[in-house]
């Protein structure tokens, strides 16, 4: 059960404009945002941060890779709420579910390119505590990515530094759609809902 109560639809009516982008993207308002709505100015600013990090420019890394990086970082930090959400998010960018599940074994799976593997390895190291990213990891990244792209990669990992702490501290209850995605595609790899269950269950 979420440790701070998520706001209901009725309680959210005055924040409809803030919620609109995620509702459109996901088809539902995630509980992480329903909890963050307790501090509406934060929710509004954080959604701007999400847009900025995901903003695709001419020099950007591909959008599916951003989601896979978010997934690998969340997995490394152990937030199963974020793993389910970023898994579903990756699928929405057109990535096969089989490849999303293979992030659990990206080092040995042949579904990834060398550049993807470099980015996922980096995400895993940078989301660990203590931080395991080394100069050698940066040197390897530079074989595949520009300086600007590396900044984008670290921005994704860092935004999930916020979200991993937020959702794993709040024990945010998972919603139907990401549960369905994760149970179908990730449970065989070891994903469980853990603490992210609803009060009624």
């Amino acid at each position: 059960m979420s440790r701070v109560k998520p706001l209901t639809d009725a309680e959210l009516t005055e924040y409809e404009d803030i919620m609109a982008p995620s509702k459109e993207r996901l088809g539902f308002i995630p509980n992480s945002q329903r909890v963050m709505a307790r501090k509406p100015e934060l929710l509004k600013a954080f959604n701007e941060l999400g847009k900025a990090v995901n903003n695709q420019t001419d020099g950007s890394i591909p959008a599916p890779l951003k989601y896979m990086i978010a997934n690998a970082a969340s997995l490394s930090a152990g937030c199963m709420y974020c793993v389910a959400h970023t898994g579903g998010g990756t699928a929405r960018t057109g990535t096969d579910a089989e490849k999303i599940a293979a992030i659990w074994e990206f080092e040995t799976s042949d579904l990834f390119s060398e550049s993807e593997r470099s980015a996922l390895r980096f995400a895993q190291a940078a989301a660990a505590v203590p931080n395991m990213a080394t100069d050698a990891d940066f040197a390897d990244l530079r074989k595949h990515f520009t300086e600007y792209q590396i900044v984008e990669i670290v921005a994704v990992i860092s935004m999930f530094g916020f979200l991993n702490r937020w959702n794993d501290t709040m024990a945010t209850a998972l919603e139907e759609e990401p549960i369905e995605f994760a149970e179908k595609n990730l449970a065989s790899k070891g994903w469980t809902r853990g603490k992210h269950v609803d009060a009624a269950e």
Binding site: R3, V4, K5, V35, M36, R38, K39, E41, L42, K44, A45, F46, E48, L49, K51, A52, V53, N55, S76, A77, G78, C79, A126, A127, A128, V129, P130, N131, A133, D135, F138, E147, Y148, I150, V151, E152, V154, A155, I157, S158, M159, F160, G161, F162, L163, N164, R165, W166, D168, T169, M170
Partner: protein, 199 residues
């Protein structure tokens, strides 16, 4: 040395507006922001997130408690750049240097109230991997803080979830002011700025 180049004043050019809030508080533009300026929209929106948490109009908790929480959080997250910054910021908002150094032993130090100790214990647990926060930690927090104050505490810890990863991954170089502060006030602790170009 920072693993991605921190932009110079000249390279920042028109971006200086985004820093206004930060540079007013700090008196300088920190290297963490000079690196983030490679993707300016991220810098601009992260500044909005920080304002949503720290602007007095958006705050229920005293600034001194929030900076101590960000320090305990950065310490558990292991980012020595953030530890130096949150220590010097704690000094700037009026916390004694003895008390800042005592965050390393807040459980046993008599410089903290029970309410402060509850928040620092929570910050430490929430910044660990795996996350160590329990329902019992929430119950303890609720003895001292209202629901909206708890949301504020988790907001600070989560913002530093971003900053701990950013600065410890980038190995951001420390600037003169926080190095000087940490060198003096944290002298008796195990603070070590070597990864961040200090010492």
């Amino acid at each position: 040395m920072s693993r991605v180049k921190a932009l110079s004043d000249a390279e920042l050019g028109g971006l200086t507006d985004f820093f206004e809030g930060g540079s007013k508080i700090l008196g300088f533009v920190p290297n963490s922001q000079r690196i983030m300026a490679h993707k300016p929209e991220v810098l601009r929106s992260l500044a909005q997130v920080a304002a949503a948490i720290y602007e007095p109009a958006n705050s229920l908790l005293p600034p001194s408690l929030k900076t101590l929480i960000s320090l305990a959080s950065s310490l558990a997250g292991g980012c020595m750049y953030c530890v130096a910054h949150t220590s010097s910021t704690s000094g700037r908002v009026g916390t004694d240097e003895d008390k800042i150094a005592a965050v390393w032993e807040f459980e046993t130090s008599d410089l903290f109230t029970d309410a402060e100790r509850s928040a620092l214990r929570f910050a430490q647990a929430a910044s660990s991997v795996p996350n160590l926060v329990t329902d019992a930690d929430f119950a303890d927090l609720r003895r001292y803080y209202g629901e909206e104050e708890i949301v504020e505490i988790v907001s600070v810890i989560s913002l530093f979830g971003f900053l701990n990863r950013w600065n410890d991954t980038m190995a951001t170089d420390l600037e003169e002011e926080p190095v000087e502060f940490a060198g003096r006030a944290l002298n008796g602790t195990d603070w070590d700025g070597a990864k961040h170009g200090a010492g």
